[in-house]
Symmetry: C2
Subunit: 302 residues, 2 copies
């Protein structure tokens, strides 16, 4: 089985990783993190979100962060905009891509955003239209694609159905997200295969949480299907809101280590990436969750 020769990594650390931090991280530190990620070679970075500061106070400085980052022409900067109000606030900051999200689980959709899956998709339709009118690409995140904290296991049928709804309203790219990290390799392959009925390989990505340590095995299994775009979060930023103290996003360092070993090009310099993770971990006052970061930092001390 031939694996892809090149993989694109989207670092979601500045947004997904930091959004649940209680202590405010300064705008300057956020911009510094983005700077270090792009210095490490990341070409796609999820920078911030445009949601109500009442809901996510950590992202209240979204406009300031977008203004503070020093942009590179070859890096794509994305922001989360769950509704038209968010999109309108985001547009003047010139994001390259916006992210909307729907759940594969009806119970999660109801509890998380107080509406059905179908209603959530309807709400996104005008956001997608407005983004396209502004020449901006739309990434759809499909949360709870492998399991749901309320419903338990999620069938591939549901993934296919919601992927189809997302495609129907014009979403350009689908990210299949294992929000609670319960997926294992063959189940992940089954979910991706069904998503591939609506999105081509080059517009499908995997977003895996490492809550149960499965993320790298799941990424390897995804590579076997030819999937070659993955979200990851530097230092493993972002815990699991459904199990306090548990692990959340897979660490970008760990993904890069595996891809390097597989001979797959990412364009990322692992040492500089470890620097970026060490920097933000220092700001947060705790060690990186990334196993690679811990091993590399331990060896540097030596």
């Amino acid at each position: 089985m031939t694996l892809p020769t090149r993989v694109s990594l989207v670092d979601v650390g500045p947004r997904d990783g930091l959004q649940n931090e209680k202590e405010p991280v300064s705008t300057a530190h956020k911009a510094q993190l983005v700077a270090m990620l792009q210095a490490a070679g990341l070409k796609e970075i999820e920078v911030t979100s445009f949601v109500s500061p009442k809901w996510v106070p950590q992202m209240a400085d979204n406009v300031a962060v977008m203004a503070a980052i020093e942009r590179r022409a070859d890096v794509r900067y994305s922001v989360l905009t769950p509704n038209l109000k968010g999109l309108e606030a985001a547009l003047p900051t010139r994001p390259d891509e916006i992210v909307v999200f729907a759940a594969a689980s009806e119970a999660f959709s109801q509890k998380n955003i107080n509406c059905s899956i179908a209603e959530s998709i309807e709400r996104f339709a005008p956001v997608v239209q407005a983004a396209h009118a502004a020449g901006i690409k739309v990434r759809g995140a499909l949360s709870c694609a492998l399991g749901c904290p309320y419903e338990g296991e999620i069938s591939p049928d549901k993934v296919e159905r919601v992927a189809g709804l997302m495609r129907a309203i014009g979403v350009d790219h689908l990210g299949v997200a294992d929000t609670i990290g319960v997926g294992t390799p063959r189940k992940v392959q089954a979910a991706l295969e069904r998503a591939l009925k609506h999105f081509p390989l080059q517009e499908l990505s995997g977003h895996f949480h490492d809550t149960y340590g499965q993320a790298l095995a799941n990424i390897y299994a995804s590579l076997e299907l030819g999937v070659h775009t993955f979200d990851a979060s530097v230092a493993g930023l972002g815990g699991c809101p459904y199990a306090k103290g548990a692990t959340g996003n897979v660490a970008t360092e760990d993904v890069v280590f595996m891809l390097n070993g597989l001979g797959i090009e990412t364009g990322v310099d692992l040492d500089k990436l470890v620097d970026a993770g060490a920097f933000i971990s220092g700001v947060l006052g705790r060690p990186p969750v990334s196993r690679v970061a811990r091993a590399v930092l331990a060896k540097r001390v030596g």
Copy 2:
């Protein structure tokens, strides 16, 4: 690609996991750990080692531990015996299996046991003979099979060579060990394929360290070759002696979670296994390294 329907797990926590703990763990606690592992359904347990207490003081109570465990007829208890003296001390304790080890790296062999690979194999030959004369199975551990802290990457040629030397002296089972955790899926497959030239599938196992987070991806890649025996250490006991603070043995809990998700039978009850890991982690005064254990324990509290 069809995966095995059943996997045998060897919990090496009581020996490999505890051996480098500085604070002595009591014989009673060690026996309790073994009792909890077998209650969780583990059928193979590496209990202790018969080496000089000057080198490994934590295992000085080897005879007492072997006497303290309550044996089950359907569980295989193994002990490490690196030389004839160790074997002679071990025999009266009636182990079901002994473990000897050689390195795939010449530099590691010299630095770790002060002799060449060939010399180390020569020394094992009488140990293997004496074990067989006593009706005891011999497992050979092939350390540094993917990488060496002194030599760097290890070629599959070396794995094949040393596997052949082990087979030639009568070793019954080979464990391919990624001692420093640098292996990635395709390199692991290459190493295992070469080891399979000398050992049949049912007598080959993988021993992966999670230092760089790769262990589960490597186990999944091994399953794709049909390998169906793996070492693991409850709670991820046993750090990495080559990078202080880094992760060592893959946690049995994480392996069982993946195998459960793949529909592969192990006979292990994950909740009872988490109990065993929580018990020994409590004795050691620190949380389990296992991501599954952390998530499960967080949910129990939460």
